[in-house]
Symmetry: none
Subunit: 266 residues, 2 copies
């Protein structure tokens, strides 16, 4: 039974990758690690060359579906449900998952030309009009986070007509049809500023978790630029990550000039 359609415009290696993904998902309910057929077996089964099989396995390996061991074979690992890579969640959903109460107070909403670093992040023209929304998130009756959100006015006109103490994600999605898809974050520990300390009602010496985030729509368009701080003594962030082989291939430079011993540490 050959399942690869040689008349299809879809490349063989993609067809095979699709087949194997399906196969793996079937075996994921069983205990133990599923071992894939060997490369030669797959090549013979589907009437394609081993190089093409390897191309398909490369794709699966990059996406974390399989790992390979020299001399042994290719395997689909056990997936714990909880160990799926962390998904993008909003503050609202985050608090819900933790079972914490959330109240939001809008501090300010302004229309202004984008500051340069905001324009850069949102990939819009310098000084293009944006909204600047500043909100205080009060969790379990304690101010926990100060969040400044920048949104291009072009993407969400008449933002001030809405109740901004509710979920911004939901608003963007339902009213403006923006499907939020990915987000890039930078996390840093720093001291609270005077303004933040005033809003959070804490002394000016406490450390906070500073988060910068650019959120992208499914189209790739940057939708939101967020600068947030969280009380370090009340909030921690949880992240689940997966290891893929591509990062492991980074070898130290072998050029004589730059033999700077950077093959170090764990």
């Amino acid at each position: 039974m050959r399942l690869i359609d040689k008349a299809s415009p879809i490349p063989y290696y993609q067809q095979l990758a699709d087949l194997l993904r399906h196969e793996i998902s079937l075996h994921q309910h069983e205990p133990g690690i599923y071992r894939l057929p060997s490369e030669n077996e797959l090549a013979e089964q589907h009437g394609i060359s081993r190089a093409t099989v390897r191309h398909a396995l490369d794709v699966l390996e990059r996406d974390g579906w399989i790992y390979r061991e020299k001399g042994k074979g290719s395997f689909a690992p056990v997936r714990r449900v909880e160990q799926e890579a962390t998904q993008l969640v909003s503050t609202t959903e985050d608090m819900q998952q933790r079972g914490w109460s959330l109240v939001t107070r809008v501090i300010s909403l302004k229309r202004l030309p984008a500051p340069s670093h905001v324009a850069y992040a949102l990939e819009i023209d310098h000084s293009a009009p944006v909204y600047e929304l500043c909100r205080l998130r009060i969790v379990n009756n304690e101010p926990l986070s100060v969040q400044i959100t920048y949104l291009p006015q072009k993407l969400c006109p008449d933002l001030e007509e809405n109740d901004l103490s509710l979920s911004l994600f939901r608003l963007l999605e339902t009213r403006y049809g923006l499907r939020l898809w990915t987000a890039r974050s930078v996390l840093r520990a720093r001291l609270v500023t005077a303004h933040e300390a005033h809003l959070l009602q804490v002394p000016e010496t406490i450390p906070v978790l500073y988060v910068e985030r650019i959120t992208y729509a499914a189209t790739g368009t940057p939708v939101e630029y967020l600068e947030a701080v969280w009380r370090g003594d009340r909030y921690d962030m949880r992240v689940t990550l997966r290891r893929t082989p591509s990062v492991r291939t980074g070898y130290p430079p072998t050029t004589p000039q730059m033999n700077k011993e950077n093959e170090q540490g764990g």
Copy 2:
């Protein structure tokens, strides 16, 4: 001028990838997009086949160093394209990607019974024997991070025989055959402790990014429990998150996997 050493045990494609990474980093200060030589040119220049060149370019593409356009060429963007979703990387790999130098000093290595929170994290018996490894990571000639790693002795016997100033990930993978697969992290901002401040040579008032991490093997076994602090004024963490952890290669909705509609607010 051929820079690929055909006598080296390092594969050609990795040598070429290293060379090109170096080349790209040189061009990243210039304005505009750097266009790489064509695959045929690279093959001829280095006396290797086009397939091997493509292998090297595949690695660079998956690491976000280059993108390729059919009919046009391969390009290194001005701003490095970040990976689709953040991957679990070791400190070594992290520093390599940032182009920073790394030196590691081993502070201590002890055998001891697992403290309860460590035993819980590693899913081993209370007081089961573990290694406690404390290391100082010195980046660009500045102490940047203090890291305490707990490893079950059962998983990595005779750990003290190894050079622990090198990559722990690599050691676990190569010597002990532990294939690291996923990790769960908790991030928090807090003040540095006296002991940490002494090691990092900083005043006791600075904030640090505190990271707890449990690293799992492909089999689901917890391998490593890490407690680390990073100087807040020198280090930031980057995380990219997605709504759907699945694939970029358009893959048909044949999988019986449903999307949870968890769309909630900002």
